[in-house]
Amino acid sequence: MSEPGEILYEVRNLSKRYGAVVALDDVSMFVRAGEVVGLVGDNGAGKSTLVKCLSGAHQPSSGQVLLEGVERHWHSPHDAIEAGVETLYQDSGLAPHLSVSANVFLGREELKPGILGRMGFLAQKSMDTRAHEDLERVGIAVPASGRSVSQLSGGQRQAVAIGRAVAWASKVIILDEPTNHLGARQAREVLQVMRSAKQQGLGVIFISHTLPHVLEVTDRVVVLRLGRVVRDAPTSEFDAESLLGTITGLNAT
């Protein structure tokens, strides 16, 4: 297992206001290459807002976003994806009417060579094959690339969503509640996919309410409460009780 390396993705003094509501207040956090960082907090702590700022879906009101030490301004998720930052959103990451391979390649379709490709025609067969290979490489097996996602079970859908994110991520992968709605065994496999992403040198940000998973897979935990970072420490400094206490603010940190 590779040791965590240099700082890969970082936010400094990030704030996000919606009108009078302050969702994020002076938040600073980072993830290193080959590191899994857990991002935890109660409902309304600002996790989702932070994820949206990290993934380019929202623009912060103030503060900096840095990828490999260079300040970046994401105007849309497209910018972040182009730069190698992939995000798995809670629940709604797939288009159910499209096939597995269409979802894996959504937004970066492979086109036919030559003039047909320039007119926008899709290389469907090649995408079907590659989608299957990519998902397998990540450690996920799904029945058939051509099947519609609406025909898959909840676990299979989540597998496709995670597979897609890991297959495309070249630097950072952000997973928002990836183990939601999954059985114990499927959740194990998701944790395994995270470990292998880490071994490949990706920076992994793992957002979850399931504290045992967080304690098991992360190297470091960042705790948000009411829009602020209240704790940023190696996972080894927490146990289930103290982590819960830090999240709820019921014990002194």
Binding site: S55, A57, S76, P77, H78, I81, E82, T87, Y89, S92, G93, L94, A95, P96, H97, L98, A102, N103, L106, G107, R108, E109, L111, M119, G120, F121, L122, Q124, E136, G139, I140, A141, V142, P143, S150, Q151, S153, G155, Q156, A159, G183, R185, Q186, R188, E189, Q192, V193, S196
Partner: protein, 343 residues
């Protein structure tokens, strides 16, 4: 890793589903069913009155079908993308009127007939594109839902067409326009051949190209489409401009048929277009639809209209029959959806 693979495969519940028999596949194919319905209709109307089975009637059916397919295909793309376009009928009348005024003034100042017609087509298409652009701006930036946005342009376009013309058709265009309408190649007139070309091109772009992929993705889950890096606003603009373009082209078809620009020529066409799309198996919730289904849906609609007239039934029954067809198509789709959810 190999071990992980098998685990994930099991965890994900991998199962091999057996291929359904060929006959079953054929009958669960909505396009095939639609075709069957259409064939039965033709046989039925022909039995009632043998005149129905003639080239003359086919010409009439296709002449009605051609502009309807144009409008319905635009509507189909909008509906696959999760929207609705109520303005297409108004665009037909509005673009026809504006184009008629332009051609009247060109013809009056001695410009040649063919050149005038080319400008006439261009004006129709431009008016359609412009209204489509306005629709997309209202949706993307004024944040109106598509139903309201296109209701606004429906009202504006049909109202302006009446204001500009004071309700009377605009005549005085080049006489060459009428010559474009007659049939040649049997039942296939110039407009029908143009429509067949449009159908082929749209089939390719909707089902084989990135344009269609993005449209289905946005209609299926626009959040996922945006998260995947698709420029959703730009694509929605393209969708409504395409719908406007096709409606504008249909406006020119009506001009040719009538020999004038009538402000009321597209009245209610949006409902026929939506009916054709729904009968063709598309879902108003977005993400589902096929070009072939819409083409057949439009053919069934126009066949019913002609068939009722030839059978001596009051053609006003058409609306009732169409309503019944929509009900059947929508019910089939709801049943299929439940079946899909259970699988």
């Amino acid at each position: 890793m190999t071990q992980t693979d098998t685990h994930v495969a099991q965890a994900a519940g991998t199962q091999v589903t057996e291929a359904p028999s060929r006959a079953k596949t054929l009958f669960s194919n909505q396009q095939f069913l639609l075709f069957l319905v259409w064939v039965l209709m033709v046989i039925g109307f022909s039995l009632i009155n043998h005149i129905f089975f003639s080239v003359g009637v086919a010409e009439n059916v296709l002449a009605d079908w051609a502009p309807l397919v144009l409008i319905a295909l635009g509507e189909l793309v909008v509906i696959i993308g999760g929207g609705i376009d109520l303005s297409v009928g108004a665009i037909v009348g509005f673009s026809g009127v504006i184009s008629a005024f332009t051609m009247k003034s060109l013809h009056g100042s001695g410009v040649s007939g063919p050149a005038t017609l080319v400008v006439g087509i261009a004006v129709c298409v431009l008016v359609g594109l412009l209204v489509g652009l306005v629709n997309s701006l209202l949706i993307n930036y004024a944040k109106l839902v598509p139903f309201i946005a296109t209701l606004v342009t429906l009202g504006a376009c049909s109202g302006l067409a009446l204001v500009f013309t004071k309700g009377a058709p605009v005549m005085g265009g080049p006489p060459e326009a009428i010559k474009l309408a007659p049939a040649w190649l049997g039942p296939f007139s110039g407009p029908v051949l143009v429509v067949l070309l449009v159908v082929a091109v749209l089939w390719l772009f909707v089902h084989k190209a990135r344009f269609g992929r993005y449209t289905f993705a946005i209609g299926s889950n626009s959040f996922a489409a945006r998260a995947a890096g698709i420029n959703v606003k730009r694509h929605i603009m393209r969708i409504y401009m395409l719908s406007g373009l096709l409606a504008g082209l249909a406006g020119f078809f009506f001009y040719i048929r009538l020999g004038s620009g009538a402000p009321t020529s597209g009245l209610g066409n949006e409902l026929d277009a939506i009916a054709a799309v729904v009968i063709g198996g598309a879902a108003l919730t977005g993400g589902v639809g096929r070009v072939s289904g819409t083409v057949l849906g439009a053919l069934i609609l126009t066949t019913v209209t002609s068939g009722l007239i030839i059978s001596g039934v009051d053609p006003q029954w058409k609306r009732v029959v169409v309503a019944g067809l929509i009900a059947i198509a929508a019910t089939l789709q709801a049943l299929r959806k439940r079946e899909g959810a259970a699988a």
